[in-house]
Amino acid sequence: MKNRLGVVTLFALIMIFIFPMFAWAAEEGIDTGDTAWIIISTALVFLMVPGIALFYGGMVRQKNVLNTMMMSFICLGVITIQWVIYGYSLAFGSDIGKFIGDLSYFALNGVGLEPSGTIPHQLFMVFQMMFAILTPALITGAIVERMRFPAYLLFLVLWATLVYDPICHWVWGGGWLMELGALDFAGGTVVHISSGVSALVAALVLGKRKGYGTERLVPHNIPYVVIGAALLWFGWFGFNSGSALAANGLAASVFVNTQVATGAAVMSWVLAEWLRHGKPTMLGAASGAIAGLVAITPACGFVTPMGSLVIGLVAGALCYFAVSYVKVKMGYDDALDVFGIHGVGGIWGALATGLFSVAEGAEGLFYGNATQLGIQVISVGATIVLACVATFVILKLVGAITTLRVDDEAEAMGLDVNEHSEKAYSV
């Protein structure tokens, strides 16, 4: 007994001397300023998830507000687990054929505090996790007020695995689009085109809500929408500026570009509807902000503030046209306009990056380099194809396993009571 205690003490003493050396070794190459900024940015991106829950929650009818919020909020649980078990590895593990990561980082094996750039590897992992959580939450705006919750959960896991993780690998994890030189600073293709296009496919597969085109399917709480948009705008500074992965001049210029484009998009959306309907609306201003944020996302690290201004001005009016004219003409029920804002805004942003980029060696068309625009077109096209095909297959698969849509009575009663046995407003 005494002998064993001696061994333990000796071991502990040795560790006390050796461990700090390891710890010190791990700190080498890590910049404290960069680390601090990315920790804060990670928390900012996190806040976008409750932000999108409020943004969408306010836009549905009051009988569906909790189900709508739950579909976003549950991503914080589901994708956190998916990401640390295998999602991060699929996106950022060692490359297999430029298409997907391997399982070398399975269960965060080998993802420690060693430097990844100038920040701890685990910090990079959790920063990326927030993007992986937010992206499927964006899709839910298209499927609200009619999808069964269990079917949604199954869809969520499959979509994250088969759509998000591969596209993330293509663009940021060493995949073929990265090699091709596609520019996507903070997630125009990975986050917005992928979610926007998938949302359109999901809306088409699920079908229209009952009463679409005849009943008043209007927002029940626009102040929620405004709070949600404000949280999204705030969080987006971490989303875009944090994507510099450092606290430096680039991060500062991204911050400026994000603000300029978003302000411009608010104005162009509001002016467009003012001209067409005679009144500016609060919902329009909030929607314009999101359109601008989406459009500047891929471009924010490569363009000038004046380039951002033009990108934002076009984004607001273009997305307004997409939701108020194209959607009505085509007749699909993308309930909260995920395609109209994230899809259309994302595609515009990715192409605009190929027009306005001033990045050295990857200038845009307006700076004399047509090649970059071609590369951007390829990245947009590839993302659309994968998102369309995979989302369609996933929904057919989920539909074969369980029922996708609530029955007519449940839809009329509301999903809060039917899917969750609770009501948002009890008085």
Binding site: R276, T281, G284, Y320, V323, Y325, V328
Partner: protein, 112 residues
């Protein structure tokens, strides 16, 4: 006895209450209602999609009183509620068979 039901613009309620009070009438029931008639509706716009709203918010004032007091009260309401524009509302007057005051059990004119 008669019941006077006046459906009026929400903005004139305070004037009606003041007029009735001066006229010596203190009992009434007021509710917020929606209705449509000759007045045109309005539109709401959400993300570029227009919805026409034909049911507009109105206020309904109900008063029960003795037959002889009815004409005077109707005059008071008209004076307070008339703007001359479409949408001023309507007044309905109906016969009431009986009235019971719950506290005392009094019936008829004594109960109103």
């Amino acid at each position: 006895m008669v019941k006077i039901e006046a459906i009026v613009r929400p903005g004139v309620l305070e004037d009606i209450k003041e007029g009735l009070s001066k006229h010596g009438v203190h009992g009434m029931t007021v509710s917020q209602v929606m209705g449509c008639g000759l007045q045109k509706g309005r539109k709401e716009v959400y993300r570029g999609t227009e919805y026409s709203i034909n049911l507009l918010p109105k206020v309904k004032v109900e008063i029960v009183l003795a037959d002889k007091d009815a004409d005077g009260v109707v005059e008071v309401i008209i004076k307070a509620a008339r703007t001359g524009e479409i949408g001023d509302g309507k007044i309905f007057i109906t016969k009431i068979d009986n009235v019971v005051r719950i506290r005392t059990g009094e019936k008829g004119d004594a109960a109103v």
